[in-house]
Amino acid sequence: MELIIVLLVIVALVVFVVVLYNNLVRLRNAYINAFAQVDVQLKRRHDLIPQLVETVKGYMKHERETLEAVIQARNQAEQIRQAVGNAVGDPKAMAQLGQAEGALGGMLGRLFALSEAYPDLKASANFMQFQEELTSTENRVAYARQAYNDAGMSYNNAVQSVPSNFVASTFGFREVGMLEFEDREAIQQAPKVSFS
């Protein structure tokens, strides 16, 4: 009789652990999948920038330094994006990516602020098309990032809360890092144009 009870308790425990484990796996796959979407949109962003610079080069003759800085920021972000492919969710890698993308966003913000001073450029159909494409890409990145952060938070909640945290630590489920773009303020800031 006692043996049966002990056996039943053991079976119940095993089932419980399996359920918790499977839930963690499901949540991990969800954030990995969400990050794949972020990756696609970042790639799109990085592919767009060289074309943009090529387009504005003819008009913005006095901004060579800024254009070079944009390209540099883009190249660095692209390098980090490719490196992160193997370390999805790793807090350090996420912070690095966030910083690089934030810096790139800041450079783009400056570029568009400067473009205000070039009416010919602003009126060109090509540039307006680019503005639409870039706006759309920025939105896609933002929405994809939102989805990744939401999925990451659900996963982190499971990793940190009792009782699944015991299962998580036993089987090596680690917390993931959120993807925050620094330098957001720089994009939001109104462009300062001085005529003096």
Partner: protein
């Protein structure tokens, strides 16, 4: 939600069928045994007729739901909408496609097919499809040219919310159910006509009188049923609109875009009106009131100012900068934003 509705519909149909069955048994039996003074209900006949009536109504409903199908693109085409493809050169359409892509990322759903209803000057939009995989979104020409980017994004997000909340599936079911009752009414009219014809042909045809009575009963009950179905449909639709507004804002995280789109509907002469003849049937699928009365039991959408106020509590129709604009100003501004001063 959906379950309660189906239950209500079944009860309504059962009631109608029961009344018809009882009437049929009274009239048909009275005719056969005219010498009996009192009217008698024959239970077997009443139940039999009721079952047949119910079977017909349900069969027609299911057939309609199946033929409307789960394919959103078919519904869009039946509303006269044209698909927008990736290779379009029109900047308005290109932006619209981009926004659909963005919203499908925000909602975490597959990308629905994109449609435009040409020649419609009103600002409106719709979503259709039995499942997110087969969904379609359409906007009117008016919405495309009168809304700016963030406003159009608000509208598309609202439609995406309908798809995410499975309202599009509910809509197809509601349409099918109402159609089943319309069928009862139509059959009733056919019975009436044939009864009237046979009476006119031979004077001593005694079968015509009860047929006439049953025909009248079918027409009356059918139209009452349709009326009830429409009220039900409209009430559900009004509730779901608020939910879709809220879910849509959750996608864009920008209540201002949607609020401004609603304000422009109030500001422009064409408003949200849709001319297409099929719009009547699908009016509960639209972004804002497409046809018919704008207040009361049969309106499919909540009043515009209440929807705006839910998003922008400080809204004042008299002094709002967008609500008080005129059509020309709105068209000029959105055009300027997209194609520049010389475009």
């Amino acid at each position: 939600m959906s379950f309660v509705l189906v239950a209500l519909f079944v009860v309504m149909v059962a009631l109608i069928a029961g009344i018809l069955g009882t009437l049929a048994s009274i009239f048909l039996v009275e005719e056969q045994v005219a010498q009996v003074d009192e009217l008698r209900v024959v239970p077997e006949l009443a139940i039999g007729v009721s079952l047949v009536v119910m079977a017909v109504i349900f069969a027609v409903s299911f057939f309609k739901i199946a033929s409307l199908g789960s394919d959103g693109a078919r519904v869009a085409q039946s509303l006269g909408a044209e698909e927008v493809t990736e290779d379009t050169q029109n900047p308005f359409k290109k932006r619209y496609l981009n926004i659909i892509d963005e919203m499908s990322i925000a909602a975490g759903l597959p990308r629905p097919r994109a449609f435009v209803v040409k020649h419609e000057q009103g600002i409106n939009a719709f979503a259709a499809g039995g499942s997110p995989e087969k969904a379609a979104i359409g906007v009117t020409h008016g919405a495309l040219v009168k809304l700016n980017r963030e406003e159009l994004a608000g509208v598309v997000a609202h439609e995406m919310a309908h798809i995410a909340n499975l309202d599009t599936r509910l809509n197809v079911r509601l349409m099918g159910m109402v159609f089943g009752l319309v069928a009862l009414y139509t059959i009733g009219r056919v019975v009436l006509r044939s009864a009237a014809l046979s009476r006119g042909g031979s004077r001593d045809n005694r079968g015509a009188a009860p047929m006439l009575a049953i025909g009248i009963a079918m027409v009356v009950l059918g139209s009452l049923g349709v009326l009830g179905g429409r009220i039900l449909q409209s009430a559900v639709s009004r509730k779901r609109e608020y939910l879709a507004d809220a879910t849509g804002v959750q996608f864009t995280r920008n209540p201002q875009g949607l609020a401004n789109a609603l304000k422009k509907i109030g500001a422009t002469a064409a408003g949200s009106h849709v001319e297409n003849g099929h719009a009547e049937e699908a009016r509960h699928m639209f972004f804002a009131q497409a046809t018919g009365s704008f207040v009361g039991l049969f309106s499919t959408h909540p009043p515009l100012d209440q929807r705006i106020r839910a998003l922008d509590p400080r809204f004042d129709p008299k002094s709002d900068p967008i609500y008080t604009k005129d059509d020309k100003q709105i068209l000029r501004e959105t055009r300027h934003e997209l194609v520049g001063p010389w475009g």
